[in-house]
Every structure is written in structure tokens, then in C-alpha cells.
């Protein structure tokens, strides 16, 4: 329901607490990062103006581009799997009754597991000696070792993410489906619309809004992924699963290269911001077109 809003500048006072809090927890730290990114230090808290040198250095560094490429590939793959799979699961959800609640509860379970435990679960699950998955694959004669083999590591990390987050997409899509009035389906039945047509012209447009939320959330979170792959593979084998966040933490907290790490942070943040802005614009336009 879009209602006419009144113009009232005093509403700023209502927003003030949020503003103060977020300023404290976001603006100050972000300024620190900006500050580091333009300075150089020889220790002893002595800092020198370095201008854009760190940015130039980082842009020339292959390490960052590799991490970015891996990150892009990862996000693209999991979106390509999770979105269709989530929609498919939502379409097959029981419509009402006990089983609906049951499915909802079980499906939400992976979402509430702490991220490092998600990593631990899959680390154990995939082990050839004590894990069900690893053991089964081994027994079937398939060579599988996520700590040594690049492809196995990628498959493990991707399957883990699918396990972890597909339910989010499914739940959102399900919520979208629930909001479709029965009359639409009856009309489609009268017109003898095929299952595919019902999906294409009734269900999909009605889900568009929530699906955009799903894609936005999944994109943002997958782009920031850190804990799960870090626990399972530690970024390895080699650097094969070193995504942007893992690389950044390695640089900032591991090697304490503050300048480069800060420059890296800012560019990382800008990339996320840019892509999210595109998503957000598309989403608000969809909202408007639907008129709700």
C-alpha cells in the first residue's frame, strides 16, 4: 500500500538515534580506513602522507585481481544455483497444514547455524576418514580431497553455500507465492493455461519483488563471505578459495599492512556499493511499477 506521505522535516529527530549509532559504528571506522589508505608508516606511530600511492599499488597487484575474479565467479555460481533451486523448492512446498510449518522450521535451521559451525559441519562431513560425504565418495571410488584438489575445494565450498542459503531464497519465494490470490489460479484454469504459463505469467511476476530482495541479499552476503570457506579450506589449496574478505583479513590482521589493506578495503566496499546500487534501483522501480 503506497500512501501519500506528508512533508515533515521534523522527522529527522526520529531518525537521529539511528544516525548517531550508525555514525559511531560505521562512519568513524570508515574514516580510519580512509585515513590509513592515504598514509604510510615507518612504525612508532609516525605517519606520512602517501596520497594515492597505495591505491595505485593495489590496482597493479595481481593478487587483488585474482581474488576479485574468484569472488565474482563464486557469487555468480551460487546465484545461478540458489535462485532457480530456491524457486523450485518454493513451488513444491506444501500449501497448508502441519507439513508447511514442519518444512519452514527445518528449512530455516541452516540459516541459524553460526557461520563457523557451518564451516565445521562441512569440514567434518567432507573428510574422507570420518565424514559421511567424503567416506561415501571414497567408497564409490571417486577421488575426493578438498584440501588438496582445487576443484574438490570449490565444489565443497559451493555445495556448502547452497546448503546454507538456498532456504533463504526458497522462503522468500514461498512468501511471494502465498500472496497470490486464488482467483488468479482459477482464471488461469478457465483459460486452460499450462503449468509453465501459470508460472511465467502469474507466479514469476508476483514473486519479482521478493526475488529481487533474495538476489540482493544473496549477492551482498556471498560477496562478503569469509568465515565458512576460511574454516573449511583456509583459502586453499594454495590460493584457490581465497576470496576478497579472506585476502583482506590476511593482509590487515595477519601481515598488518595497514596502507594497502585500507586501500583494498575501500575499493572492495566501492565495488559492493556500486553493484548493490544497481540492484536497489531496479528493486525500487519494480516496487513502483507494481504500485505497492
Amino acid at each position: 500500500m503506497m500512501q501519500e506521505k506528508t512533508v515533515n522535516h521534523k522527522a529527522w529527530f526520529l531518525v537521529l538515534p539511528v544516525l548517531v549509532l550508525v555514525a559511531f559504528s560505521a562512519v568513524i571506522p570508515l574514516m580510519t580506513v580512509v585515513n590509513y589508505s592515504v598514509q604510510d608508516s615507518f612504525g612508532n606511530n609516525q605517519f606520512f602522507w602517501a596520497g594515492l600511492e597505495w591505491f595505485r599499488e593495489m590496482l597493479a597487484e595481481e593478487r587483488m585481481w585474482d581474488a576479485l575474479a574468484r569472488q565474482m565467479a563464486f557469487s555468480a555460481i551460487i546465484l545461478a544455483i540458489e535462485v532457480p533451486l530456491g524457486i523450485f523448492v518454493a513451488l513444491n512446498m506444501p500449501k497448508r497444514g502441519f507439513w508447511t510449518s514442519f518444512c519452514l522450521v527445518v528449512m530455516s535451521l541452516p540459516l541459524l547455524v553460526p557461520w563457523n559451525v557451518v564451516g565445521t559441519i562441512w569440514q567434518i562431513f567432507g573428510r574422507v576418514d570420518i565424514g559421511l560425504l567424503g567416506y561415501t565418495l571414497d567408497a564409490l571410488g571417486i577421488e575426493y580431497n578438498y584440501t588438496q584438489n582445487v576443484i574438490d575445494a570449490w565444489v565443497t565450498v559451493i555445495v556448502m553455500d547452497v546448503w546454507h542459503w538456498t532456504s533463504l531464497v526458497a522462503l522468500l519465494a514461498y512468501a511471494g507465492l502465498q500472496s497470490i490470490p486464488d482467483a488468479y489460479y482459477q482464471a488461469a484454469k478457465i483459460d486452460q493455461a499450462s503449468r509453465w504459463k501459470v508460472f511465467r505469467y502469474i507466479e514469476l511476476p508476483k514473486m519479482a519483488g521478493v526475488l529481487m530482495i533474495a538476489i540482493l541479499l544473496r549477492f551482498m552476503d556471498s560477496f562478503m563471505i569469509y568465515t565458512e570457506p576460511f574454516v573449511v579450506t583456509g583459502g586453499g589449496p594454495g590460493n584457490a578459495t581465497t576470496f576478497l574478505s579472506i585476502d583482506l583479513v590476511k593482509m590487515a590482521l595477519g601481515q598488518f599492512d595497514l596502507g594497502p589493506a585500507a586501500a583494498f578495503s575501500i575499493m572492495y566496499f566501492l565495488v559492493i556499493l556500486l553493484i548493490s546500487w544497481v540492484f536497489y534501483t531496479v528493486m525500487t522501480n519494480l516496487d513502483k511499477r507494481e504500485g505497492n
Binding site: I28, L112, W115, N116, F125, A175, Y226, F269, I272
Partner: protein, 283 residues
């Protein structure tokens, strides 16, 4: 006649197959979700020698020793207490500050409102890895390092924008006439908001709280960076199981199972709002 029977028989069969198809898909999906969790539970009930010695689909010598280790050792169970403390603090703070802001966004146009809203959302998009180091320095310099409130405030970074986003969605669904009628009846803003408006969006508040709880509970990078001993979260305590003599798999699995329990309880209480909640009130 025979034709007709065959025909209806075929359709009935077709529809039965479709229903079963749905059930099959859901069963497969739920099994896929539950198997890794079952495996963790299974391991947590075994002794280490059984875990490493024999491959068994269920515990042969059922033991609760791993759980006993955790529940009797303060350095273990305090991890859960610490996590719960900062998660609850964060949930309360986030929802409390988000309520008035969400009301402002849902009801009024004001200078820069659209930009402000997007700026808030950008904080949800900020990678925690970017903030880990500056947070560490900020909270150390104000003497809050290794306290619960530090983690609670740090998690506000992503939870406050999310809470505002969710609540705004729910508030949009409440007709504006209710506000106007209340004001005409002589309600002040504060009394109207608490007595009339908040009960109307109670489910929205519940959903927002659920999400704040969830994202604060599952986050590790910031909570680990900001704590060392006194406020150490359970997720960080779990690394203790990796000792000189190898990994204590049984205890690690038991600790993992116990981290799933609070989430499972919370889900059970909000199960009827889950779907709408995940759509952030926008359905």
C-alpha cells in the same frame, strides 16, 4: 464409456504423480539439509576412538561425555553465555533505535530521506572484514575492548539498517488514518506510538528482533576480533578443541550441536511469521 474411464483414470494418476513429485522434491531437499546436521549430532554422541576407529552410521556406544565436558567447564559454557548476552543486547538496541526511524521513513518525506535510507542500507552491505581492524582500534581506544557492549554495538553496523528496512515494510501496511485519528483523539506522539502503533506492528517487531538475533548469533569475524577473554563468544571458543594431540572431534561436534539449539528454539517460536519475515514485510 471405456474411453472415459481410462481418461479419468489417467488424469487421476497424473495428478497423484504430481502431488507425490512435490513430496519427493521436498523430502530430498530436507534430507539434503538435515544430513550434515545429523552427522554432527551423530559424532557428538560418539567417543573419539569410535569416531576415528570405525565408520558407523549411528553411535554404537552412546555417550554423553562430550556434552558433559562442555557443560561442566566454565571456560566452555561461558562462551554460550557471552554470545547470548551480546546478542540480546544487540537485538534490544537495534530494534529500539530502528522503531522511530522506520516510522519516520514510512510516514514522512523529509530532506534527504531517500539518500539517508540508501546510506543506511549500504552499511548492511559493508563487509565485516573491512571493519575488523578499525573496530579493534576504535573500541580499544575507548576502553571497550573485550566487553559485551562492544560486540553489541559493532553488530549494530549491519543489524540497525536491516531492522529499519524490515520495520519500514511492516509499517507501510498500517493505514495512515489510524495515526490521524489517534492524534485527533488527543494522543501525543509517544503515547500513540507505544499504546496504539506498536501493538499493530507487533509481528513486524518480532520479525525484526528475530533477524537481529539471527545475524548477531551467526557472526564470528567481528565478535572474535573484539574479544579476548571476558566476552569471548562460543564460536571462537570452539577453536580450543584443536590441541597438541590433534582435534577433539567429539567435543567439537557437541559444541557445534549446542550452538544450533538457541537458533532452533527461536525458529520454533516464530514459525508462523517466518515466511512473511523473510520477505521483510514486503508481501
Amino acid at each position: 464409456m471405456a474411453d472415459l474411464t481410462v481418461n479419468t483414470g489417467a488424469t487421476r494418476k497424473a495428478s497423484r504423480i504430481r502431488v507425490n513429485g512435490s513430496a519427493l522434491v521436498m523430502t530430498l531437499y530436507l534430507v539434503f539439509l538435515m544430513l550434515p546436521i545429523y552427522w554432527l549430532l551423530n559424532m557428538s554422541l560418539k567417543t573419539n576412538s569410535e569416531i576415528l576407529g570405525a565408520f558407523t552410521l549411528w553411535p554404537q556406544n552412546l555417550t554423553l561425555a562430550n556434552y558433559a565436558t562442555i557443560l561442566t567447564d566454565a571456560s566452555w559454557y561461558m562462551g554460550y553465555v557471552n554470545s547470548l548476552i551480546y546478542v540480546v543486547m544487540n537485538t534490544v538496541i537495534s530494534v529500539a533505535v530502528a522503531l522511530p526511524a522506520a516510522y519516520a521513513f514510512s510516514r514522512y518525506h523529509f530532506m534527504g530521506d531517500k539518500h539517508l535510507f540508501f546510506w543506511l542500507l549500504t552499511n548492511r552491505m559493508a563487509p565485516p572484514a573491512v571493519f575488523a581492524l578499525p573496530f579493534f582500534q576504535l573500541y580499544s581506544s575507548v576502553g571497550l575492548f573485550d566487553t559485551h557492549i562492544a560486540v553489541a554495538l559493532a553488530h549494530c553496523l549491519f543489524n540497525v539498517p536491516l531492522a529499519v528496512w524490515i520495520l519500514e515494510g511492516f509499517m507501510r501496511g498500517v493505514p495512515k488514518e489510524i495515526d490521524e485519528t489517534a492524534y485527533i483523539d488527543g494522543y501525543g506522539f509517544g503515547r500513540f506510538f507505544v499504546k496504539i502503533f506498536m501493538p499493530l506492528i507487533a509481528s513486524g517487531i518480532g520479525v525484526a528482533a528475530f533477524f537481529c538475533f539471527m545475524f548477531s548469533w551467526v557472526e564470528l569475524l567481528l565478535s572474535r576480533t573484539l574479544t579476548s577473554v571476558d566476552a569471548k563468544p562460543i564460536a571462537a571458543t570452539m577453536t580450543r578443541t584443536i590441541g597438541a594431540s590433534g582435534i577433539d572431534w567429539g567435543v567439537l561436534a557437541a559444541a557445534g550441536v549446542l550452538t544450533i539449539v538457541p537458533g532452533a528454539l527461536v525458529i520454533y517460536f516464530v514459525r508462523n511469521y517466518i515466511a512473511k519475515g523473510f520477505a521483510l514485510g514486503r508481501v
